[in-house]
Homo-oligomer: 707 residues x 2
């Protein structure tokens, strides 16, 4: 690892005080905010709070071994075996899984004491990792820190000129936020347990510690209830998790230092409950499992005492099943129509002086919160649950934004940010990465108020994900959010993030995640028996496409999408972020910045644009054979047109004489056409080609008449 | 499926008599041996005995359903669900798994009666599959045929211009041989059950019906014995299958119409037995698990009555665990050294007039065969067990060849061919495909003798396979062997085989097999954080490399390989057969056949050769960073030299004037260098470039002085 030697990395902007050992480490601040130039070749994600590279590296070969000292427990023994399996997988070395004696082990892990039996918010997760050329040591006060240290070590190990190795380094690390979560909606589309498990493996790798399990929706009630079996029997199309499976999953998560917070969304988003229990609803029924997406009318009846009796029993049952101290009651998006239409409810509102539906929902939330408290849990809810009079110990999960979160903090409420972390909106990783729970209104909070912002959660809403492609909708972008929530606030350079993300993304596939391979598999399926050159042409096109963003897919569907709509189209197969598109944009920016003078860049651009221009002719025969390829025939024509337009711009630049305005208008018309989404897909390089055209025209950066 | 319409496929060269239905189908022989030109675009593997395409196709969409009529059993219900899962996977359609009423189902499967409780050799596996534009029907006399029909249907479904569809067709199919096996050696390297299971899924897809499980070796005893627990406890490094796991695996196989034949190899190949039971051996002991590869001295003591008592108990235990009627006792490769060195054994041989070690082994085999028979099973053994006096009901598995097999048949023994089907030797699929159990000496057997040749088994010996890459050592080549054993003898066009193999190979990955993806994963691992262009250069090189063939790897290792040797090198990562290398060879052949006049081919060749020439410069920096890439630095230089030599030949051809002899000698020296294996890898295009050079030189096909 010569190329690392001697470099020093300091990513921490604060004094690092490692709890548990009582060691106070003073850290000189050399680089309060890192720039790309200072970026070390250290492929860690999340970046640690503090790291100092030594010289040389620790050889990792077949005799590598691990020993645990100090406090031990079965969970650590399993973590050791998991660590060795993962190390064996990422090196191909046949490691022995037998426990080693601590004196002889390559890596010694020293844990001071147990963590809480039920993992708590804000528990000590810190660790110190020392790697020398002879051995390595992890010190942590609790198993949580020890396991984080193991994950960091795994990321350090890579191939080197003389074997696998980890660089000599000292890392002192701890999280910035205590609540670093991923929410998976297994209700709209059921997500099988093996898929959930591999995503928990991914969470462990990037040090996330909360799995928020969205278990009920209009489209499904996914947890077995022994008290009210009609909930899952009639409300899930037989796609639900048994209580045994849930217990197993919780144990699996606990083994990885991950809490499991269940969400049962009420009083809205609950049609599936009413299939078996119409008596809970505010309308007349009967109800069927909802197949469409959106916000729907059915809602629980807040005026019916039987509803609270039912919820008391159900929450009690689920509170026993899920050991976590927190319990999510949803509370979002009630449209109130069933309440408006029910005279009994209207009468109740009048009698109790509840002025509007918001007040009625507040009444409901207050009642449910008391039930949750009675069963020993703290409530988590979406923004809507924060209304006057609710107890201060609830936690607000904000889908509305930082302002909402900051306001809650000033009122004394704890909160977690999800606005900006919705994975289903298809944003690029850099856009999520730029969202900080402590920026915006939160930046001006007092120190005490800031303490109330516990962290954040990325959200994987599941209208357009299937068990097949869900990994590719979560990863790798979720790793960037994980870094935002773990690493110091000053770690925010997107170029560094993307460089490391690409590395971590490959590593995550070793855990069994399929975010990279699934795209090729799905494209192969929809290409049928394509020739190699046809398939390559399909890849050239699809590598530059991204699904439309935000909620555009919903609004541009030719037929209303439902839970039965196949998710086998190109919009489902391509990653949500196009690496090739981003790289092309960077290349254009650099080229234009060179006043279009760099011949190497010009030649690369020419090659790429010519390939695009010629791509459609290769792809067309395939489009004739496959209805799913045919769907992107127009996108393919756009790409060819983009290639031709870009080549024309290069040509104009080469001639050294600005083309006429009519030329520009014609080229820009091509760009405008290419920018229009087709088949719910965006052609990512369109704006970059536009830049090239503008640079070529009179007054542009690369024109002979440039300003 | 317009492109299929109207074509007629007849692959059968014999009258097709579908048993069970008693239907005699007379089939006119139009094409006794198919040529490439007649090859239909029907991606079936193995090709059916008889198929006749209709017109139009059956639409396969989300409402597709299956119903079973006639005889049913739970196994068929599971087959239905598996079929639907697989169909959903390969189309991305959200299919309902609920049973359909037969009147309404898209596909109706009609089964006449049960198959045998314990699957027998030669049971009826035939089926008729009718697909019309409105519906499909499978008729079979037993569940075995019904399940084969389902697999054929799955292969028929593909993307079409207006949705997923299966072509209208009538298929009447039955296997050519009743014994179509795959042997996996889980003893030298332990193969976990999930890996075995997905290989059984692959076997089902290509209609193989015997899983031969090689369970004991010098390097490991992999089956739990409750009677003699020291066998697996001391002889397996804790890597063994419990009896419960074995029972589960057998049930899993039975569900797929696959018999499980266990092999316990004796009296040689048995060092691992002696770790816990040195009293069985002919030497003094103590013994340790063998870590090296090869043939070793330890062998059971055929003169010790306690050995037979032990084997009686063990075979009894295993005969109860494995329900199949056949039991494999190995019997191969005893070097006799321990026997020679043991005076007691020598005395015994003298006393019993056993002239040599072969006679002693025959004595042992005879005794063991009696034990196997006593426990109700028929013996299978390698060639060596066939000695004078053995009962006629044993089955010979021939690793020695067709002559040995034919000889056995003339003596009245049944046999299965494995010579020619050793997957570990790294042969191209076409070479295995050309091996026919009925060719060579077998071709001249009488009809009755031919009946004794039951089929064949491919063998995956595991010196150089790990759980990680074993799929890529078995597949896709094993599908070509499966076709050899199922389809009519006349189906033997390698071009057709390769076209279909490429298709089936992609399909097999939908079953969970990893033969295609693992290569890229392993290359990514050994490339570390390579840039995209470096990784592409590594792919360009490795796509043209194949591991050395036959037993060369053993003989060219720098250090003696052992079971602890990491299998993470490029030789372990690349597929055993290079598609790119084969395609390049085909292109050169076509180009030379055109007297090097085809400009399109010339331009393709030029592009490819230029890319090879320039590849090494891109790859070298990566070789400096990774010891595993560095290993192929010389191969990379060879490829660049090949590229340059090929370009020089194109140049000479273009000039229209034969180059001097000195030029030829220089180019051929380059080729000779490139042909030499390096890092245990062969550079596949070397002979093709040589052809181009020879074509360019005086008297060559593309020279102005051509003959």
């Amino acid at each position: 690892m010569d190329y690392l030697r001697g470099r020093i990395l300091r990513t921490m902007a604060q004094n690092a005080r490692l709890q548990g050992f009582g060691i106070l480490v003073l850290c000189v601040l050399l680089y309060p905010a890192m720039t790309t130039a200072q970026q070390p070749a250290l492929n860690l994600m999340p970046l640690p709070a503090n790291a100092q590279l030594g010289s040389g590296s620790l050889h990792v070969d077949s005799v590598f071994s691990v020993a645990f000292t100090g406090y031990t427990e079965l969970r650590l023994e399993r973590a050791r075996e998991r660590f060795l399996r993962q190390l064996a997988r990422q090196t191909g070395l046949p490691l022995s899984f037998k426990p080693a004696k601590s004196g002889k082990a390559t890596l010694v892990v020293e844990t001071e004491h147990a963590s809480k039996e039920i993992q708590e918010v804000g528990e000590d997760e810190s660790y110190i990792l020392d790697v020398s050329t002879a051995s390595a040591r992890i010190r942590a006060s609790t198993p949580l820190g020890a396991m984080h240290g193991l994950q960091t070590f795994l990321q350090l190990v890579d191939v080197s000129p003389d074997g696998f190795a980890a660089p000599a380094i000292t890392i002192q690390d701890k999280p910035r936020f205590p609540w670093r979560g991923l929410m998976i909606d297994s209700a709209r589309h059921f997500i099988p347990l093996d898929v959930v498990r591999r995503n928990l493996d991914g969470m462990e790798a990037v040090k996330m510690n909360v799995f928020h399990w969205h278990l009920s929706e209009n489209q499904g009630f996914r947890a077995e209830s022994k008290k009210f079996p009609k909930l899952h029997e009639l409300g899930s199309d037989s796609l639900y998790y048994t209580q045994d499976e849930i217990r197993d999953l919780i144990a699996y998560a606990k083994d990885r230092g991950i809490r499991v917070v269940p969400e049962f969304d009420m009083p809205g988003h609950s049609t599936a409950w009413f299939v078996g229990h119409p008596e809970l609803a505010s309308g007349k029924g009967p109800y069927e499992i909802e197949r469409r997406w959106g916000v729907f009318d059915p809602a629980m009846d807040p005026t019916n005492e039987k509803v609270y009796k039912f919820l008391d029993d159900l929450i009690g049952e689920m509170a026993r099943l899920f050991p976590d101290h927190y319990f999510h009651i949803g509370g979002d998006e009630v449209n109130g129509k069933e309440w408006d239409a029910n005279p009994k409810i209207q009468a109740f509102m009048k009698a109790h002086e509840l002025k509007n539906n918001e007040a009625l929902q507040a009444y409901f939330s207050g009642r449910v919160q008391k039930l949750v408290t009675k069963h020993g849990k703290t409530v988590v809810g979406w923004d809507e649950v924060l209304v006057e009079g609710v107890p201060k110990d609830i936690v607000i999960q904000s889908w509305r934004g930082q302002a909402s979160l900051a306001k809650a903090a000033t009122q004394g409420f704890r909160g977690i940010l999800s606005n900006g972390y919705y994975l289903d909106l298809g944003w690029p990783a850099a856009r999520h990465y730029a969202v900080d729970p402590m920026s915006g209104d939160a930046a001006s909070l007092s120190a005490e108020e800031k303490q109330r912002i516990l962290g954040g959660e990325s959200c994987m809403w599941a209208e357009y994900v299937s068990p097949e492609n869900v990994d590719s909708r979560i990863w790798p972008r979720n790793a960037a959010i994980a870094e935002r929530l773990w690493s110091p606030q000053e770690v925010r350079d997107p170029a560094s993030m993307y460089a490391r993300l690409s590395f971590i993304s490959a590593r995550l596939e070793w855990l069994g995640l399929t975010h990279r391979t699934v795209s090729r598999h799905m494209l192969q399926r929809l290409a049928g028996p394509a020739s190699p050159s046809q398939f390559a042409a399909l890849r050239t096109l699809t590598d530059l496409l991204e699904p439309v963003k935000d909620y555009t897919r919903e609004h541009t569907a030719t037929a209303p999408p439902t839970s039965g709509t196949p998710l086998n189209r190109i919009v489902d197969a391509v990653p949500l972020e196009s690496d090739a598109g981003r790289h092309f944009g960077e290349l254009i920016d650099q080229f234009v910045a060179s006043s279009c003078q760099d011949p190497a860049m010009q030649s690369r651009l020419h090659e790429q644009l010519a390939a695009w221009r010629d791509n459609d002719a290769i792809l067309q025969p395939l489009a004739q054979r496959s209805f799913l390829v045919k769907e992107v025939a127009a996108n393919s024509q756009d790409l060819s047109a983009l290639g031709a337009a870009g080549l024309a711009a290069l040509d104009a630049i080469g001639k050294g004489q600005p083309p006429p305005d009519s030329w520009k208008a014609q080229q820009l018309a091509t760009i405008e056409q290419a920018k229009k989404p087709k088949a719910q897909l965006l052609l990512i390089p369109a704006p970059a080609v536009q830049k090239l055209i503008e640079a070529a025209t009179a007054g542009g950066a690369c024109s002979s008449t440039k300003p």
